[in-house]
């Protein structure tokens, strides 16, 4: 897939995840006298790899979204691409912790800069001295209005876990033995007028972490006679891949024909919506002159596009491999953190985590259930994601999900599609994104991590606001007066319709 085709798709099949009607609050013409902005990360956590020389699982790619409200009368105006032009405002972002200097000096990120052009032909990771992500966004810039998802978006910003000067933030262990890192860099989001004056601003967590892959794969490499390094791990993975039905040991693939092996992007053959793909492009379409190196046990006829998604092969292999089960983790089907960021990072950290013994598998299903239900054949599709009212197809939740029309005991008129899929759903006049009030998926307010709660604590931090027993400013946005000047300053549950 060419980069130009790839980029529009990088919003993670956004259109497929959109469910509800157009915003009812948009389109008013009174010029706002003030603005408010709320921002969030789209998924609550992104993974990125520490090395890129062998093959790529996931690139630095983080997406920040925001909703902007304009004020001048009782009900706020949703600021969209149309009225933003009329009012002369722009919405922009700037990463607060990742800087040009630190990113370009980071040895792991330098690997990304070196190998990204081979992994994504046509992509220039540093342009004019500035780092840019796969969708063209750098560590700062303007956000664009997503007319499908009805929010301001900066897709694919190159956020990366950093070695923070504030060592207390470096909670993530480097599996390769380097310094601990901060997996929760912050991003500031601004609303500015035409002269650049800041009219409103907020700050949101931009989570990005290394997965847990290395913690097993380095040992696996050593156990099989390879160095316990990332290079050794890649080499043995290639060999293992060559032992499956594909016969392709990707150590023998030289994509660019420069005489060296790799790097390989898994999604060339195994389509991966996390890469913005709806189909695998196939190596020959990406690098027509690729070379199979001497000694390979396969030919170009074997290098085919797989029928299986990357998510499918990766999850299914690990849950069904007797080697994984007997030598590494008998409970891998449930232990998501073996691979996903649990390395002191705690990807799953929201209110669900705090209130109950709800586990990842209650919403998504364990790996055996996900495989049996065919979830992984269509990863990232709305149909495979959990909603507030139901777990993913095939999952067997131990707990009841939220009723369709009851929130904290208050019954609202039912609209079965209202809650949609949390990450892109909207409610409250059909205008407000779920994540605007509730925070990022996996970090729903109140989060167990203080940093996640910073934004809501600021938004609802006025001493004139009051909260009922058991609630406080870290809870979902619920002080009516924050948005509606004439309404109550007591926190409550707003209408979700």
């Amino acid at each position: 897939m060419k980069l130009k085709k790839l980029v529009p798709a990088l919003a993670l099949t956004a259109a497929a995840l959109t469910a509800v009607a157009a915003p009812a609050l948009a389109g008013r013409t009174t010029t706002p006298s003030s603005y408010k902005v709320v921002a969030w990360n789209d998924l609550g956590m992104h993974c990125a790899c520490p090395t890129f020389a062998g093959f790529l699982l996931l690139p630095p790619f983080n997406t920040v979204r925001a909703q902007v409200l304009g004020y001048g009368s009782n009900d706020p105006v949703i600021i969209d691409s149309t009225n933003a032009g009329t009012y002369g405002v722009t919405v922009s972002y700037a990463m607060a912790d990742n800087t040009e200097a630190t990113l370009q000096a980071d040895p792991y990120f330098q690997q990304w800069i070196t190998y990204a052009p081979k992994l994504f032909p046509g992509f220039v990771p540093v342009s004019g001295g500035k780092v840019q992500g796969l969708a063209g966004n750098g560590i700062s810039g303007n956000m664009t209005y997503d007319t499908n998802l009805k929010d301001w978006t900066a897709v694919g910003i190159p956020a990366y876990p950093l070695v923070d000067a504030n060592t207390a933030k470096n909670i993530m262990t480097d599996p390769l033995g380097g310094a601990n890192r901060n997996p929760y860099p912050m991003t500031n989001v601004y609303v500015k007028n035409a002269s650049g004056t800041i009219l409103a601003q907020t700050s949101t967590v931009t989570p990005v972490a290394f997965g847990g892959c290395c913690s097993c794969h380095l040992s696996l490499a050593a156990a099989n006679g390879y160095p316990a390094t990332s290079a050794g791990s890649f080499a043995y993975l290639g060999k293992m891949h060559g032992m499956n039905s594909s016969k392709i040991d990707f150590n023998y693939l030289d994509p660019t024909g420069d005489g060296t092996s790799g790097p390989i992007r898994c999604s060339w053959c195994h389509w991966d919506p996390a890469m913005g793909e709806t189909a695998a492009p196939g190596l020959a379409n990406v690098w027509p002159n690729y070379v199979i190196m001497a000694g390979a046990g396969f030919t170009k006829a074997d290098v085919k596009v797989s029928q299986y998604s990357f998510s499918d092969v990766l999850h299914r292999f690990h849950s069904q491999s007797t080697k994984v089960l007997t030598q590494y983790d008998a409970n891998v089907a449930t232990n998501c953190y073996d691979c996903h960021p649990g390395n002191n990072v705690n990807c799953y950290r929201g209110s669900h985590k705090a209130k109950t013994a709800l586990w990842c598998v209650d919403c998504h299903g364990n790996l055996n259930q996900r495989t049996a239900a065919g979830q992984l054949t269509q990863p990232w599709k709305a149909s495979t994601l959990p909603s507030c009212t139901a777990a993913s197809a095939g999952a067997n939740p131990a707990f009841a999900c939220h009723a369709t029309n009851t929130v904290n005991g208050t019954v609202y008129p039912t609209n079965p599609s209202l809650f949609g899929k949390f990450i892109n759903g909207r409610g409250h006049k059909g205008s407000i994104k779920c994540q605007t009030c509730h925070g990022s998926a996996h970090a729903e307010a109140p989060s167990t991590m203080t940093l996640d709660n910073t934004q809501l604590s600021n938004l609802q931090g006025s001493t004139s606001y009051s909260f009922p027993a058991g609630k406080d400013k870290t809870y979902a946005l619920g002080v009516c007066v924050y948005c509606h000047p004439t309404k109550t300053s007591t926190w409550g549950t707003p209408p979700h319709l």
Binding site: T173, N180, S215, G225, T326, A330, A333, A357, N396
Partner: protein, 329 residues
């Protein structure tokens, strides 16, 4: 159909009993005593493991049930009768017609791994006879391959050192070692020996590790085939690991720490276990916030890694449950 219906009714009735009896059971549970080890707050560890009691699907799965039982017993706690029965019933239901056990109720393919785990859980609860042990022997024996090794399941027949270990472990537990072709199995297992001593998970290239060394040593001992040279070389290997060598640059791993201790004991070198290294490592893995233990330094805790930590503490006498021998059967 009738049998299935009856079983469902039985399970439903039992679930109802558990729910109704919960308040009384909670009181009984509160009587449990924590024989705290100074370094660790076992009250917190207990609360962490007991989080799963709040799940309507308790005990969730074969591994989770084992985590719960082992950890609480290792800390000297008593498990109330209601939950014991719930675990025994769930374990019984995990046994398939062919005698093997599954990882959870959604899975119908029994394997030697989950059979081994289920048997340990039952042994810990003194409920060995709650299941059909003859069928277990038949199941394990059916996994025997011509190469002397055993497979994982009827669907995954290929032998490995790990699956052979689990099969021998299970067969020993059900007095079924007569089903093993001892000469062939010993030869198969010895094929995993490494030049530098110890055993690795793969034949040929690759290095030894503590897990495989323990597994091989266990099988050789169980089959009466452990020899002095093999034992000596195993110790030579283990001496170079971070579990005995304080100067080792290798990053220690929780599972490997456990198997290093067990391997030393299998090769009659239990006196070589460095309890101080093990205890210090456990201190570094301990998560004060919730009382759990992580699998690696800097990682958060999980029930599985917490259970493994308690196994290690049991092995070095720092957990007062006194169950390592039962656990090893």
């Amino acid at each position: 159909m009738f049998k299935k219906s009856c079983m469902f009714q039985l399970a439903a009735a039992f679930a109802l009993f558990v729910v109704l009896a919960a308040p009384a059971l909670a009181k009984e549970k509160a009587k449990g005593t924590h024989k705290a080890v100074a370094e660790f707050d076992f009250k917190k560890t207990s609360a962490f493991i007991k989080e799963m009691e709040g799940r309507p699907d308790f005990p969730v799965a074969t591994v989770i049930a084992n985590d719960y039982v082992y950890t609480l017993l290792a800390m000297g706690e008593k498990i109330d009768a209601g939950r014991q029965n719930a675990i025994i019933l769930a374990t019984k239901l995990a046994q398939q017609k062919n005698g093997g056990f599954t990882p959870d109720k959604s899975n119908k393919n029994g394997s030697i791994l989950y059979t081994d785990i289920a048997l340990e859980t039952l042994a810990l609860l003194d409920a060995n006879n709650a299941i059909d042990r003859t069928k277990v022997k038949t199941f394990a024996a059916s996994l025997k391959n011509a190469d002397g090794g055993f497979g994982f399941s009827p669907e995954a027949k290929k032998s490995s050192l790990a699956t052979t270990y689990y099969a021998v472990h299970v067969l020993k537990g059900v007095n079924g070692l007569d089903a093993v072709d001892k000469a062939k199995t010993v030869e198969y297992v010895k094929g995993f020996a490494k030049k530098e001593g110890g055993f690795g998970p793969e034949k040929g290239a690759g290095v030894a590790n503590a897990r495989s060394t323990y597994m091989a040593a266990y099988v050789l001992n169980a089959l009466g085939a452990m020899d002095e040279a093999t034992a000596k070389k195993a110790v030579q290997f283990l001496e170079k690991t971070p579990y005995l060598d304080k100067k080792s640059k290798e990053r220690p791993e929780l599972d490997e720490q456990l198997y290093a201790i067990r391997a030393l004991k299998e090769v009659a070198a239990g006196n070589r276990v460095d309890k101080a290294i093990a205890l210090n490592f456990m201190k570094r893995l301990y998560i004060k916030v919730n009382g759990g233990f992580g699998p690696l330094e800097g990682y958060g805790s999980t029930p599985d890694s917490t259970t493994t930590a308690l196994r290690i503490l049991s092995e070095i006498g720092k957990a007062k449950g006194g169950i390592p021998l039962v656990a090893k059967r």
